[in-house]
Every structure is written in C-alpha cells, then in structure tokens.
Homo-oligomer: 241 residues x 2
C-alpha cells in the first residue's frame, strides 16, 4: 500500500488562503473571497469551499459574519519573541546578537521510529555578557532530515539549515501556551532564582510550505522575557461579553 501524498482539496484551498492572509494580501478586517467566489476560483462545490474556510475559522484566523462575509481576524503574531523564526529579526538594530548553546542533541527512538532531538539554550550576547532567554526542545523526523545529527547548530540557525540543506521552508507554527514550574536544573540554566515564578511554556509544531509537520517544539521562557501582545477588538451586531 502506497502512502499517497494525496491532499484533500479543502486542505489545499485552506493552505492557499492561509498563505494569502499571512503574507498580507488579506489584512485584518478585510473580507476574504465569498464562498461563491471561492467556488469559481478553485472550481469546487460550495461545501468544499466552506470546509476550507472551516479550517481557518477553527484556527481563529478568520471570522464569519452572517449576511456580510468572512473577515480576517487578528494580525497573526509576527516578529515577536513568540515567533521562533523571527528571533534574530527582533534583535536587529540592537547591540545584541543571538546565541545558541546546544545542551543535548542526538537520535532517539520512539515507537520504532528514529527522531532527532535537540535541546538548546537560546539568548542574546552583548560585549559585556550573555543572557539566556529560553530553553528550546526540538524533535524532528530523522528519516526526513538524514545526517541532521552531525550538524553543528551553535553556528547556524536550525531553520536556515532546513532551507539550505533540506529544501524545507518553515512557514508557520501552531502553538499552545501554558505554564511550568522549572526544575532546579532548568532554573539554574535560565538564571532563575530557586523560588522564582512559574514560567511560560509554549508547545506545538512547525509546518513547512506544504503544511507538513516538520518539528515539534517546546520552549520554556525565562521570566525576564516579556510577552507583549496587541489585540484588535471587533464590533459585532449582537454585542459581545
């Protein structure tokens, strides 16, 4: 039996639409094409077009409004510390440069399948000192990235290597926020006091240009990292709580 690379149409459509939203063709507040327009754009039935939009609705990327249209919700977070890909960018123009220190890296077997697992301390360095900001754990499919266990990740970015050596282009991450009280070891690594606060943790996956999962990520942030968010408030006819 061949593990076919068949992609349902609605998934393909939702990928296209997500791309247009993330790249800014449809901006927050804009209406995306109506279901009728999507039908003719992609040559599908309305049910399929709706199913594609369902995906984006469930991701919170768009919101439907009866009788009006479907609108882009919030600007997805970009260039913030949450954005694993934009880490360096957020530091541009500062007298700081990004550093990564690999704590652990190697192959590991889970359920008979080989994975590459890497734990890194990441942070910034100034001439005076180095400040670690997060402890990142990445797990990737070793068979998809052969030889990855021999690469030195202190020098180059993980995503840069994925692009240059594996022709894989990370496009988005889907993550969940929660809290974690660090173990004494981890607190030490991140420079947290032993009786410090619980830390913010993000867990999720990164997806490539084909919406294939390429990495499972867990990041524990030091308390000195600030998460600043701006949210838009929309007005609904029915009001909201």
């Amino acid at each position: 039996m061949v593990k076919s690379s068949f992609t349902p149409r609605y998934v393909h459509m939702s990928q296209q639409l997500r791309g247009l939203i993330l790249e800014g063709t449809y901006k927050p507040g804009d209406a995306i094409p109506s279901e009728a327009e999507l039908m003719s754009m992609f040559g599908t039935a309305r049910g399929t077009a709706r199913q594609a939009v369902d995906v984006l609705v469930s991701e919170g990327l768009v919101r439907r409004q009866h009788g009006k249209g479907t609108f882009v919700q919030l600007q997805p977070i970009r260039h913030s510390i949450l954005n694993m890909g934009g880490f360096t960018d957020s530091l541009r123009g500062r007298a700081e440069s990004p550093v990564a220190h690999v704590i652990e890296a190697g192959l590991t077997e889970i359920d008979g399948h080989q994975y590459f697992r890497m734990v890194r301390l990441r942070g910034t360095r100034t001439p005076e000192r180095t400040t670690y900001l997060s402890l990142d754990t990445s797990v990737m499919d070793a068979s998809r990235f052969p030889g990855i266990e021999d690469i030195d990740f202190e020098d180059r970015s993980l995503y840069q290597i994925l692009r240059e050596q594996y022709k894989t282009h990370p496009r988005r991450t889907q993550i969940t926020l929660s809290t974690e009280i660090p173990s004494p070891d981890v607190a030490e690594l991140l420079g947290e006091p032993s009786d410090g606060p619980a830390l913010i943790k993000t867990e999720g996956s990164a997806f490539d240009q084909n919406d294939v999962e390429i990495e499972q990520i867990k990041v524990l942030y030091a308390s000195r990292v600030e998460f600043n968010l701006t949210t838009a408030i929309a007005e609904f006819p029915g009001g909201e709580l």
Copy 2:
C-alpha cells in the same frame, strides 16, 4: 419578525448526544452510534449527522477514527481562547453561551481620583452546566463614564455598554502575559484544584478609537483555557537563529 426558538437540527442532535455521553449511556472508550445509525435515529441526512458530531469533536468530547467509529474521549472538555478579543465569537455555533458573574463592582478612590473597579467571573454556559474560564478585573476612570457604577453588567457586555451609552469604541488592547499562582479563594472560584498549576495572567490596557486609554485590565485564566496561536515564519536573507 419573530425571534423563533428554532434550533438547527444538528445542534439539537449534538445536545442529545452530549447528554447521553455526560449521563453515561456512552462511556469513555465506547463508540457512539455510527453516522448511518444517527441518520436513521434522527431521520436526517448524513451531512447533518456529521455536523452534529463535529460539534462534539470540536469540544473534545469524542474522537473520530477512520474506518472504526467515533469514540467517547476520556479527557475533560477544554475551552479555547483563540483570540483574546473574540470571546463570544469563539462560542458561535456551539451549544454554549457566554456568562458573566459580577463579584465586586463599585467606585474606589486612588490618589484623589475616582475609579470604577469591577471583578467578574466569566465563562460559558451549556444546558448542563456553567464553566468559569477567567477572573477579570477592570479599572476605569469614573469621571469619563458617569453613572457606570449603577449599571448591571451581568446582562450586557461591558464594551457594548461603552459603545451604546458612552459612545466609546474599544479598538485594541495592549497586554503583557505572565504567570500567577492563584490564591485558594481564586482557585476555588475558577474551579482549580488546590495544588493546580500556575495560571496564565494578562495585564494591560484597552484603548478607544482615539487611542485614549479607557480601561486597565487584569485577567487570570483557568487552566482549562487553551491559548492557541498561529505564527508566521518569514525568511530573511541574512538568516536567523
């Protein structure tokens, strides 16, 4: 136009099924009736039966397995706040409605200036039960919103009142994420176990259409609330870490 008590069939079906699951007719691990069986049980088309099950799937109450059936999940329902602004909207199409319970509301004086301070428990209500999701504290300038202390906020949304009675249109919030270990009282209110995890807290301000600060907000979220985010990954010529 009559505000009919019309309930979509799929909602009615999902309510019935949810009831059967919660009352134990279908226990965790059991298969619920197949889509074909649901069709004949309720006399609907397969699409409608699937739509009903979709609701339960999105609530995490059941899990579909291709080729086998649809099974009752073991995990408790988790709520998801996809976007902090879209609280009500995220509940659309579900058999849940938003509720707010005012714990405390009144004027308070800080530095010789009068402020309106309100603490609310917010959450969702289904026919079966009410689930509180967050404890919100709002502080607003009393002189800008005269008479606000006499308004009943259990009925109507705060922002709805600001728009309708004070011609103030909240447009964005600027918030910071952090963690907090709830006091026993607060844990009790949010339904958290006494030895539960640290909670996610957001603190910040809301701004109106003129970018004037109108509200200071602090929200403590129950651990059952999921924060799901999608981030975009950009490519830079210089690479990133």
